[in-house]
Amino acid sequence: MAGDTAPHAPTRTLEPAPLAGAPAPGAGGGNGDAPAATSGRARATRSADVVQTRASLIALAVLVVVFAAISPQFRTAGNLQQIIDAAAVLAVLATGITFVLMLGAIDLSLPGVIGACAMTVSLLVANSRNTQDLGLLGIALTILLGAAFGLLSGVLSTRLRIPTFMTTLGMSAIGLGIATILFAGVRPVVLDESLGAWASHRIAGFTVMSLIAVAAVALGWAIQRWTRIGRYAAAIGGAEDIVLLSGVPVARYKTLAFGVAGAFYGLGAVMLTARLGSGVVEAGAGTDFAAITAAVIGGTLLSGGRGGVLQSMIGVLALTVLANGLILTGVSPYVQQAVQGVIVVLAVAVATWPVRRRLGVVK
């Protein structure tokens, strides 16, 4: 995971200059017109890209080393399993939200979408409340529901031109409302054995859920690498106006990116339900913050165009190691949340440091 910073990593090398002996403009003084400034910025962005990924990896390594030094328990193979299992849900959610963040948009809909999807899946598979027993089909429908939520967020943002901050916040409230209606006062306990096995059954030491998460992350990476949704999302985040001028239906691809994100949230909701053993309305509480934090720590910039699924995974591991290590070293769970808050602000500060002077107005 470490070296593979982006889908275009192998092409990152600078080609030999075709203009023999020509110094780079902008760097060599000369007449620094606006375009030269652009080239300077592009260069800064790129090196910042590499620096950021490296910084994230170093941060992760530092956390691991520090906790391993303090806590003997941390250094066990069992704890490694624990960390992987604990990271599974966040990994899937962070994969999803990366598509939205790449656009330069934001997604705060996770708590609601996950709540609605968690209730839905617990009522579609064998459960204590009704006689449904759709099994895998129920899970698939739940993922589709998540995608539908995402598409709706996307459509509202692009067609009605409402900032994603607002649409997704509203979507979260709508999701929670639907979840509460589905809940109807009686918690549905999941009786479906195969779904229950996601959390309990282990293959080669890892829970089924962890393996599903790995597959989901790989799928997310492939979507980002090989499909228009993934590639255009990066391009839109890089320079939306230029993409639009090239005749790409930007609104459509933005909406689709939200849809992909929603599908991952749906899967995350299924995993959370398997872990909790029943449908819980608040299953997604705090996931919005955790997923954004993970992505940002990994180097996915909130202004879009930078980062990616694999970078986000560095952030997921860093956050999980942090939580795990804080528990093992005896820090109170209440303090942990504050620590997480401090970490995200620091991470954003570090991520934007190289381009800090160029950001101009910050809102």
């Binding site: 275009h8 192998p10 092409t11 990152r12 090398t13 600078l14 080609e15 030999p16 200059a17 075709p18 203009l19 023999a20 002996g21 020509a22 110094p23 780079a24 403009p25 902008g26 060599g28 003084g29 000369g30 007449n31 620094g32 017109d33 606006a34 375009p35 030269a36 400034a37 652009t38 080239s39 300077g40 592009a42 260069r43 962005t45 790129r46 890209d49 690498r225 090989w226 499909t227 228009r228 590639r231 990066a234 391009a235 985040g237 890089g238 320079a239 230029i242 993409v243 001028l245 090239s246 005749g247 790409v248 165009g305 930078r306 002077r357």
Partner: protein
């Protein structure tokens, strides 16, 4: 000089512009423009700022909708709706501010939105993408790798990629495209310009090229025909083999009387004491600038786009990070690290982008005016509304700002009145010692311009030093006591321009381009 017109070519034009007219509020950007582009030729376009070059190019790629006149492509009149539509009829533009997405590969940029067989079944085939892009890169002999990330390229390399992107139009239209190059050499080093020219000549084998540049020697070198634009019209069509740069200078400037428009009589002798002294100012795009401005003096700065004069002015206001140099304001060092420091030292700045940098359009006239010196109308930490209104009323009357009231949103006023509010923002301060005016009359109509000129005269008369960047050379000469000429980031000349003894614009033009 010869306004030589070639005998009608046997071939019909690929692209013809007939009587194109476009009016923006207060400005007639295109005034019945007529020109044509024939197959496989390089057409040069030259003209001063505001001559209509950029509006013409925008119209040709559908980014501006002309009010009247027509654009004819291969004999068929078209109404271009946008860049994508222009591309579909074979017109592509290499934008001055580059139009490549930085964080994706060269191949993706070249094929963006038209991947063709590079995407099969919704999946990117990276090898095929690279091959398709390579075909376009080969057309201009570029050695840039199609798989390289775009932001890893130099500026010149990216320009080649843009040309390749425009050439990709060929695959879609089955015609030879028309490639518009907007100021392509403005940020290139000399050797890079040679490379670009070699590629333009190669391009001529398969396309028509429209070449726009401020650098006359370059236009003469590369073009088969040159159109000279002035005030939104073609004033001459020349054969580069038969003219030299001096002829073009005369054509560019024209012969218009200045009249009382500039309030020439109000130009007063500046005081003797040096207000601002700049030594070896160094910033991105501007090197080793040294000059002085005296109290009550208007110093004009002339230069084409990319000459570094904008950077110079912004650096003096502390708006460019990393500017260095010894700058003294009334003998005291002026810090260049923030606009705040500049304002506190008594420096004002009127930016050229009035709408985005000059005014906060949703806020009232009052708020916009008192913004920079709100401390003067405060009682403790609270803004004293009565004092603020009184101050604003005074200035609205003094400058003749036409506004229903001080509470009117400034965005609803005309450009000229907005600009007067921006000027008032600085004039309210009794400590104002230096005012930097970055294209203060841009986008204003004639009457409003004249009023702004009067204010500048008045300001200088009261002892304030003024640094003036003008849209036109004529304005700079008429308004200034002295004119600095900049080229490629350096000051190349400094001419006295006393009342009644204004220097010859042709001389300045020669130092500029």
């Amino acid at each position: 000089m010869s306004n030589h017109v070639r005998p009608a070519a046997a071939t019909s034009p690929v692209l013809a512009v007939r009587g194109l007219t476009k009016r923006y509020p207060g400005v007639l950007a295109l005034d019945g423009m007529d020109l044509e582009v024939r197959p496989r030729e390089v057409v040069g376009l030259i003209g001063e700022n505001g001559a209509g070059k950029s509006t013409l190019l925008k119209s040709l790629v559908g980014l501006a909708q002309p009010d009247s006149g027509s654009i004819v492509v291969r004999g068929e009149e078209v109404r271009l709706r946008g860049v994508a539509h222009a591309a579909s009829v074979g017109i592509g533009m290499v934008f001055q501010e580059q139009s490549l997405v930085p964080n994706i590969t060269v191949a993706e940029n070249i094929l963006l939105g038209a991947e063709g067989s590079g995407v099969r079944g919704g999946l990117f085939r990276w090898r095929r993408m690279a091959e398709l892009a390579q075909v376009q890169l080969d057309k201009i002999g570029s050695t840039v790798s199609a798989r390289a990330r775009t932001d890893s390229l130099t500026f010149a390399q990216r320009q080649m990629v843009e040309v390749a992107k425009v050439l990709a139009l060929e695959e879609r239209t089955a015609h030879e495209p028309v490639v518009l190059l907007d100021e392509p050499t403005s940020v290139l080093e000399r050797e890079e310009v040679e490379t670009l020219f070699a590629q333009v000549r190669r391009l001529r084998e398969r396309a028509s090229v429209v070449f726009v540049s401020h650098r006359l020697d370059e236009v003469l070198e590369i073009s088969d025909r040159v159109y000279v634009l002035r005030n939104g019209r073609v004033v001459a069509e020349v054969d580069p083999a038969e003219v030299d740069a001096t002829d073009l200078h005369h054509l560019l400037i024209g012969r218009e009387s200045t009249g009382s428009h500039y309030h020439d009589d109000a130009q007063q002798q500046p005081a003797a004491d040096v207000r601002l002294s700049v030594r070896d100012l160094q910033t991105a795009g501007c090197t080793q600038a040294s000059f002085e401005i005296r109290a009550g003096e208007v110093l004009g700065v002339a230069g084409v786009q990319g000459s570094g004069r904008e950077e110079l002015c912004r650096a003096l206001f502390g708006a460019v990070p990393g500017a260095r140099g010894e700058v003294l304001l009334d003998g005291k060092p002026l810090r260049l690290d923030s606009p705040r420091a500049a304002v506190l030292a008594g420096v004002g700045y009127v930016p050229s982008e009035r709408r985005t940098e000059g005014v906060v359009s949703s806020m009232s006239v009052t708020e916009n005016m008192s913004m920079a010196h709100v401390g003067t109308v405060c009682r403790g930490p609270v803004i004293d509304g009565r004092r603020e209104r009184a101050l604003v009323d005074t200035w609205v009357r003094r400058l003749g700002i036409r506004t229903p009231s001080g509470d009117t949103a400034i965005g609803t006023l005309s450009g000229g009145n907005q600009q007067k509010v921006v000027l008032a923002r600085w004039m309210v301060s009794e400590q104002l010692r230096l005012l930097i005016l970055d294209h203060p009359t841009r986008g204003l109509d004639v009457g409003a311009k004249s009023e702004v000129y009067e204010l500048i005269r008045e300001l200088a008369g009261s002892g304030c030093a003024v640094l003036l960047l003008s849209d036109t050379l004529e304005e700079a000469l008429a308004m200034s006591h002295r004119v600095l000429v900049m080229k490629d980031g350096r000051i190349t000349a400094c001419l006295d321009a006393p009342r009644g003894g204004k220097p010859d614009p042709v001389a300045i033009m020669e130092a500029m381009v």
